[in-house]
Amino acid sequence: MPITYEPIATTTLGSAAATVTFSSIPGTYTDLILIGAFSCSAATGTAFNLNGDTGGNYSYTGLEGNGSSAFSGRNSNATNTGWTYDTTSNGQVNGIAQFNNYSNTTTYKTLLTRFNTPGTQTGASVNLWRSTSAITTIAIATGSGNFNSGSTFTLYGIKAA
């Protein structure tokens, strides 16, 4: 039986870094899943930049709850996606992002993401990258500060029949 769901790469930081990048992603899978367990030196959000595109080609619609209220927001013509947000510094954050049909070259790419920041909030978002290019590079960046040492990120590939 062929392996359908397999790890592509894992990065665990040995020292603080503002960006973690998965590059040369093969187009041989159907979907990608990125899982992160990390903390940041600042109260900040994190986001993806795809294929080095820093133009205003991203947008998202988000849904979050913080224990007392729920809210929804969006961003348009942005220079990156949304992923996680923590209102405290150095708190543990867990996030997952789903890149369905990431390697097709006929549709814009839509991502589903989720995150948890225990003690502060949980949320999810749907993100659009207005490009028909196959995704070959995913850069994960903080809005401010660094990912702390020990932060870990794993990229998986899922292959459909």
Binding site: I35, S72, G73, T110, L128, A160
Partner: protein, 185 residues
């Protein structure tokens, strides 16, 4: 390891733990119905992963799910939505199918597709009603919707067939639906 809430085996990633069962990609003529049939009972859970767009918009942004061709009023759903400015919740009982999915339609910009990840839990168990979790949404650069949904089929039969329709709208070309089976130890 927790993947969208499903507890995967510690052998996660080994051959046979998460298997591709079938995939349907819509061709140039569009498709009114996507059907997965003769689903084997050899897995513990099912997951459908999709990108989708409707070729028209008369039926709204919903995708309807029907199981084992049961057209009776044996379904229910609940959902929470975020549309970029507000949060809303909704539910319905005694439905003839599960309508808790949102996707892009022809009213949205070209090349914009929605994304769906649906988990159908313990689908082959013949002692309980069947439940599913539906995470889905689309973004249209200034509009869009994110939805968490749950669905119930009040039937103890093992699920052997899944039909997906666009409430009268065809699925557009390049829409793609992949069915996976997840095993437990």
């Amino acid at each position: 390891m927790n993947i969208l809430g499903i507890i995967a085996s510690s052998k996660f990633g080994d051959a046979g733990d998460f298997e591709s069962i079938a995939t349907t990609t819509v061709g140039s003529g569009g498709s009114a119905t996507i059907t997965f049939s003769s689903i084997p009972a050899t897995y513990t859970h099912l997951q459908i992963r999709a990108i989708s767009r409707k070729a028209s918009a008369g039926g709204g942004d919903g995708i309807f799910i029907r199981l084992n061709s049961d057209s009776g009023s044996n379904y229910a759903r609940h959902q929470i939505d975020g549309d970029g400015s507000s949060v809303s919740a909704d539910g319905a009982a005694s439905q003839t199918q599960i309508n808790s999915t949102t996707t892009a339609t022809s009213s949205h910009s070209a090349n914009v597709f929605g994304v769906q990840i649906w988990d159908i839990l313990d689908y082959a168990n013949t002692n309980k009603y069947k439940t599913m979790r539906l995470m889905n949404g689309f973004d249209n650069n200034g509009s869009g919707k994110l939805r968490y949904g749950s669905g119930l089929w009040m039937n103890t039969n093992a699920i052997t067939q899944i039909d997906l329709t666009g409430n009268g709208d065809n699925f557009a070309q390049y829409s793609s639906f992949a069915l996976y089976g997840i095993r437990s130890a």
